[in-house]
């Protein structure tokens, strides 16, 4: 890619990328630590996560302001336009991922004193590991402008959905076994849902990267495997 004749334009685009990378790093870190707090029942770590979400919010605002200013002043075209609009979209998804991590941390605080059912925690851990891996891959795809990698992230989301489906069933069963499990199960269910949502935002980012690099949207409908909104286990 040739450089812009106007150097400050080039610098602004570079700055935008650095901010996205910074946000991505923070989102990754927050998600990882919120899951650690959940698993280790570590209220201190959880509170720390809740506090650190601010940093992502601040960065989102900075990116947003920079994008608006660049659209007004540079009137970007073609790949620059896609770059700048893409940054705006990605920053929104990353901010949401930060929120979801914060929510997981809050829930871990609510159930810190309860006994965590081991097999369910293992399911959540697997799901979380995959979500974290996907997030890392998509951030790499952004910095490398790798549309193929973004596509593979995009199609791998079905695995997270599948894990969420089975976890959902397990948690329902667990609740039916003993009503005293309902409190913790509900929190874990929402936690799992949050991880599943992280996966969705990650695929959004993958779609944006694809558009940014190739100039057109991914046309196939992404297979959506979260069936829990229509699942019911009868209590009889």
């Amino acid at each position: 890619m040739n450089e812009h004749t106007v150097k400050s334009y080039e610098e602004e685009l570079g700055l935008l990328d650095r901010k996205i990378a910074q946000m991505g790093g923070l989102a990754e870190q927050l998600l990882g630590r919120s899951l650690e707090a959940l698993e280790r029942r570590d209220p201190k770590l959880a509170e720390d996560v809740v506090r650190s979400d601010r940093a992502i919010d601040d960065l989102e605002r900075e990116v947003e302001e920079q994008v608006i200013s660049m659209v007004a002043r540079r009137q970007p075209m073609a790949n620059d336009l896609r770059h700048i609009v893409g940054a705006l979209r990605i920053t929104t998804d990353l901010e949401r991922i930060g929120d979801l991590a914060k929510n997981i941390a809050k829930r871990s605080l609510a159930i810190a004193d309860e006994v965590h059912p081991r097999p369910l925690m293992t399911g959540i851990r697997h799901m979380a590991e995959l979500a974290l891996h996907q997030l890392k891959e998509v951030l790499d795809a952004y910095s490398e402008r790798d549309a193929e990698k973004a596509l593979s992230v995009w199609s791998n989301d079905t695995q997270i959905d599948a894990m969420y489906n089975s976890l959902f069933r397990e948690l329902l069963t667990y609740m039916m076994e003993d009503p005293r499990n309902i409190g913790i199960s509900t929190h874990l269910l929402f936690g799992a849902k949050n991880i599943e949502r992280v996966g969705d935002h990650t695929t959004n980012i993958a779609e944006t990267i694809h558009y940014l690099v190739r100039g057109f949207n991914i046309t196939d409908d992404r297979p959506k495997d979260d069936q829990t909104s229509s699942t019911l286990i009868s209590g009889s």
Binding site: T5, M77, A78, N79, R82
Partner: protein, 276 residues
Amino acid sequence: MNDQSKAFTMEMDKSGSVASDTVMNPHKVTSRKVSVFYGLKQALFDIDLDIPDRAVMALIGPSGCGKSTFLRCLNRMNDTIPDCRVTGEIKVDGRDVHDPDLDVVELRGRVGMVFQKPNPFPKSIFENIAYGPRIHGLARSKSDLEEIVISSLEKAGLLSEVKDRIHEPGTGLSGGQQQRLCIARAIAVNPELILMDEPCSALDPIATAKVEELIDELKKNYCIVIVTHSMQQAARVSQRTAFFHLGILVEEGSTADIFTNPTDKRTQDYITGRFG
């Protein structure tokens, strides 16, 4: 020359284009293998470009890329330049503009032109507009002529501003008004095709906006080809955009596609400001 013709990427139907921009009216102008020479120097190489009717086609590219040269081929303005030779075929409404039987004056009646600097005749506003219809014999009576003048001024959005001083000199108008007077003059002879060579480069943003609004109005009835150095202007006013570079047509496509996702790297470099 053959190598260069391979560079033509005539992508008419790329995905992701805005639907309203892909509605294509029949072609008003077709050009095939148009080359232009100034003496021994070749300025245009084998241009194949079709221009749809009732739409705005923007020609963009760096200085010296041949966009104005191409524009001037469409009404044979290059005839006025000594040593200039045009080869290839250009048809307006299916009729070859180089047909020896074709009357150039009549051609220029069908193909109006607006230039970079407003160039009203040193005559009254009325006479500026009446001149064309008179020499082309379009008005049978004085009242006919008056009607043409009034309706042309109205179409050019100038009537309300000048109706009280229609017999005062056209040169006394502001730059933007003069340019719209020139557009009124061009449409007075009822052309089918209007060529504009950087019509706003000498105008302030408000006058520019008025001319652009006028272009938007005119495209309902006319085929308009505009050469502009302002990418933003091309993006704002046109439905299709053609990018010229070093005398070749690099890329032509819907304006939305060209400015969001051009096919050729040279187009991308130019519109994003990356040409060194």
